[in-house]
């Protein structure tokens, strides 16, 4: 008996230990540390349901432990035949009715929250961003502001932002755990979800619907800045000078190559071209291709062999691979594309 219970107890403490060790996860990524309205609402429901369920679990385990301790076969009683109980109406009614009541405790706030998170009453008066999921990157189109960008979505903190989401290919799912729950992007219909960041910061986003080999590399960011900074960013993005000449000679040559070879798929400015990610503010990106550090070397490597960083991506095989020298120049050009002073760093440092 003792050995049996001992093992269960050891297992229990091991689990507790493992939870403590790993904490609640990384800030600005974990759903345990909500920084947005949706995430807060979901976490409340999670805790309400968890509390009710833990109560049920404790009741079950108390009866379970008692039964196993008290009624386990004792030495010399192998042939003891217990009373053959058929059932007990009163008890059975109790354990039917009480769970129903407990479920109502969960169901009512769940329904309220579900309707709350689907509310679209002030959609027309709010910032609307069209989100497109692509294998394996995200595109953001600020329709009214006439801004196109990819991978990093800038939003004003403390304001409701409506995301109108679709997919250009297969199913994806837009998930920024610390800001809000997820919503799928479907190829046939637009889904709408609102988000509201409660604090400034750079929040990790992930694709949560299997979409091919690089599903796990389809990360993106939400950059939540103050409303003033957001206005600044909008203006900067609207006033990007497409003709601007880069400072260094290398970047100038890179610009020429880019305009000849890359512009067919990658737009700079508010052009609607979105075969590949929009690169208007590439130099300010938090990450290259969602997951790699934005360094000159990585950009060159990407241009030369994107397949190595993102297996199955749509760039591989669809462009003429430049020489390493050319790639260096393109990288020089791209990395100096910094149209705004409002950057992810602004968001992080204000926080």
């Amino acid at each position: 008996m003792k050995g049996w219970m001992g093992k269960v107890r050891a297992l229990f403490w091991l689990s507790i230990l493992s939870i403590v060790l790993s904490g609640c996860g990384k800030e600005n990524l974990s759903a345990f540390l909500p920084k947005g309205y949706g995430a807060q609402v979901s976490l409340d429901i999670i805790f309400i349901s968890l509390a009710v369920m833990v109560f049920v679990f404790i009741v079950v385990m108390i009866i379970y432990t008692f039964v196993l301790v008290k009624f386990r076969q004792k030495k010399g009683q192998e042939d003891f035949v217990p009373k053959q109980t058929e059932g007990n109406k009163a008890l059975e009614v109790v354990w039917t009715v009480i769970p129903i009541l407990l479920l109502i405790i969960i169901a009512v706030p769940t329904i309220a929250a579900t309707y709350d998170l689907a509310d679209e009453s002030d959609k027309a008066d709010s910032l609307n961003i069209s989100v497109t999921g692509n294998q394996y990157w995200w595109h953001f189109n600020y329709g009214e502001e006439e801004i196109q960008t990819s991978q990093d979505m800038y939003i004003p903190v403390g304001e409701k932002v409506y995301l109108n989401m679709m997919s250009s290919d297969v199913l994806h799912s837009f998930w920024v755990p610390s800001i809000s729950g997820k919503m799928d992007t479907n190829p046939e219909n637009e889904n709408t979800m609102y988000i509201e960041a409660l604090e400034e910061g750079v929040y990790w986003g992930k694709c949560a619907e299997l979409c091919g080999p690089s599903h796990s590399l389809m990360d993106f960011k939400i950059v939540a800045v103050s409303p003033e900074e957001y206005q600044q960013w909008v203006e900067d993005m609207q006033n990007v000078d497409l003709e601007a000449t880069p400072e260094t000679a290398s970047a100038q040559e890179g610009q020429a190559i880019f305009e000849n070879s890359c512009l067919g798929c990658h737009a700079i400015g508010s052009s609607p071209t979105a075969v590949g990610p929009n690169l208007t503010n590439f130099g300010d990106r938090t990450k290259l291709a969602g997951v790699e550090d934005l360094t000159h070397e990585n950009v060159v490597n990407w241009i030369l062999n994107p397949e190595k960083m993102k297996p199955g991506n749509k760039m591989t095989g669809n462009y003429t691979v430049p020489s390493e020298e050319e790639a260096e120049k393109i990288a020089d050009y791209l990395l100096q594309l910094k149209p705004s002073d409002v950057t992810p760093e602004t968001a992080s440092s204000n926080n």
Partner: protein
């Protein structure tokens, strides 16, 4: 056909015997071997997944291969391991529990098995023919319909063939339980395992056609250029999700209900008590089966169905917790006041209660739509369904195998090895999956080939992988146990556990015809009733007479083989029209065998009274 088969047959004769058998007990063994093999295969795939995730940004397998692994792990475990192992138990036990000499349609029973096996082999051939399916076991369109290569084609054809086998099995057990119960075995006297088999079969009957239709639509999209799921052609990919989950959710109950039945029988036997609240247990089983069809869209809360649909499906899903809770408490009160003997079968059953309760708890949490927006498609979901399917179904299969092994093979599985398996597997299971609840909410979506270094997911994944190794050790020890028991195990009598139900009233393993005389059933736990009244066995309901039994036949094997060949033809005719010849040859073999079956009179054979008296006919 001779009724007296020589006991020491050569390998060839034994093989032929199994290829042609229509005996439910031998088909059970076939299902056990087939399902066991695929369970090990699915386990290997799981280990590769966990090794890949042992550290961040690992490159143990490539991204594409990882997607193949996760797809095949899920598909194999659900369709090719759990389902057949459940069918193994159903075949081994249900006819005995209702006092029948065979199932209603022995030929169909055999056909069901061979279709499952050939479907499974077809699916796994993809590994060697350019890559396995890689769109997840859910095969969501448009990813599945647009994936290059033939992987998903193998998924579609393989599942179509094995699914047809499952549907046949379901129909067979429905008819068997309705029509072939022994005199006096009313519905409300059936053991709970038989009841769950009955409800599960009904679920199969209604759920699998949705999968069949979905797979046909996908087959036409992929192989014949239609656009059911293609938005550009006016199709709709969400329809696949609906079709899949209208099948997929009941499928969960198809798997878990028989496991509930196993636990009910095991708890009752080893606490020497009648099942507490039998009527409520039956009612709860039926209710779970019914509600199981009403909740499929809770897999689709994030698809954008709107708050009304999400709320309705949320509440419907929570409602399932009520009958499930009734079951948990009835089991606890079956144990209450009993004389509880803990052996391997009982260990698995006892471990099921806390494990499954956790799975049920997270199930209710997932049902809360607004919370599910965070849970959905993360490791929280992975943890939840492994708690339900491993903690429920796999524990149930292990419990059932330990419990009925002596009935199937005449030998008790080694207890010490059984306990070693249990403890390594049980500890490994919780170590692997408990932490995954947290990984999910910490921002780890499921089906992720890699996770990044600096995201706080390293420790949890390492613990999870360590747990997986414990589970693997447990499974290997069980395999060793099976082998060592079959070599050295001691023979036991017909009733080693002081059983309560009909299967324990006949020898182990049972004779070919199961019951020399059909028993007269006088209540729930019929054998127990006879025992309490001082009798050793059942009172016969008929005099000893000739027994009519079906003949063995190779036709089910041939039909399935024909479909197997036709499957390759369908897949490869896209590349080269000459492959259509394989379709015609395969379908020709299948239809030819069906024709033979239709025109050839096969009246079966009789085991004569005199042979029965001599104890022959085994």
């Amino acid at each position: 056909m001779s009724t007296t088969i020589a006991q020491n047959k050569g390998f060839g004769a034994t093989l032929w015997d199994y290829l042609t058998t229509v005996d439910h007990k031998k088909i059970a063994i076939l299902y056990l071997i087939g399902g066991g093999f695929f369970f090990l295969l699915g386990g290997l795939e799981a280990m590769a997944i966990r090794i890949q995730l042992i550290k961040p940004e690992n490159d143990f397998v490539s991204a594409g291969f990882y997607n193949e692994l996760l797809t095949m792990h899920g598909t194999t475990m659900i369709f090719l391991a759990a389902m057949p192992l459940i069918f193994a138990l159903l075949n081994a036990v249900v006819p005995l529990q209702i006092g029948a000499r065979d199932v209603a349609f022995p030929f169909l029973n055999s056909l069901g098995f061979w279709l499952f096996l050939f479907g499974g082999i077809l699916l796994n051939c993809s590994w060697f023919l350019g890559g396995a399916p890689d769109a997840g076991w859910t095969a969501y369109a448009p990813l599945s319909t647009t994936q290059p290569g033939h992987g998903v084609d193998f998924y579609v054809l393989g599942l179509q063939i094995s699914g047809a086998g499952t549907l046949m099995g379901g129909i067979n057990f429905l008819v068997t339980i309705v029509n072939m119960r022994a005199p006096g075995m009313t519905y409300m006297r059936m053991p709970l395992f038989t009841w769950t088999a009955f409800v599960t079969s009904a679920l199969i009957l209604f759920a699998f056609p949705a999968l069949t239709v979905g797979l046909f639509l996908m087959m036409f999209d992929r192989l014949f250029g239609s656009g059911f799921f293609d938005a550009n052609m006016g199709g709709n990919s969400v329809i696949w999700e609906h079709l899949f989950w209208i099948f997929g959710h009941p499928e969960v109950y198809i798997l878990i209900l028989p496991a509930f039945g196993v636990f009910s029988d095991v708890f009752s036997t080893f606490s020497k008590k009648r099942l507490f609240g039998y009527t409520a247990m039956v009612f709860a089983t039926v209710l779970i089966g019914f509600l199981g069809f009403m909740v499929w869209a809770h897999h689709m809360f994030t698809v954008g169905l709107g708050p009304a649909a999400n709320s309705i499906f949320a509440v419907a899903t929570m409602a399932i917790a009520v009958p499930t809770g009734i079951k948990i408490f009835n089991w606890l009160f079956t144990l209450w006041g009993g004389n509880i003997k803990i052996n391997s079968a009982m260990l698995w059953s006892l471990a099921f209660i806390p494990s499954f309760t956790i799975g049920g708890m997270t199930g209710v949490m997932l049902a809360a739509a607004a919370a599910d927006y965070q849970f959905h498609d993360t490791y929280f979901v992975v943890a939840h369904f492994h708690y339900v399917i491993v903690g429920g179904v796999v524990f149930g299969i292990f419990a059932g195998l330990h419990y009925w092994w002596p009935k199937m093979f005449g030998k008790i599985l080694d207890e010490t090895l059984g306990k070693i398996t249990f403890w390594t597997f049980f500890i490994g299971f919780h170590l692997t999956f408990f932490i995954q609840h947290f990984l999910g909410l910490m921002g780890m979506p499921r089906r992720y080939w890699v996770y990044l270094t600096d995201q706080g997911l390293n420790t949890g994944n390492l613990i999870s992988t360590i747990g997986a190794f414990f589970m693997a050790i447990g499974a290997i020890v069980f395999l060793y146990n099976v082998i060592i028991t079959s070599i050295k195990g001691e023979k036991v009598g017909g009733d080693p556990w002081d059983g309560r139900t009909l299967e324990w009233s006949i020898p182990s393993p049972p004779p070919h015809y199961n019951f020399k005389q059909l028993p007269l059933v006088r209540g729930l736990d019929p054998l127990w009733i006879e025992k309490t009244e001082g009798r050793k066995g059942m009172t016969p309901a008929e005099p000893v007479g000739d027994i009519h039994m079906p003949n063995p036949t190779i036709l089910p094997f041939v039909m399935s083989f024909g479909l197997f060949i036709a499957g390759f033809g369908f897949i490869y005719q896209v590349d080269d029209a000459s492959w259509l010849s394989a379709v015609f040859i395969g379908m020709g073999i299948c239809l030819g065998a069906m024709f033979v079956r239709s025109v050839k009179d096969d009246h079966g054979h009789h085991i004569h009274k005199e042979d029965l008296d001599k104890g022959d006919g085994l």
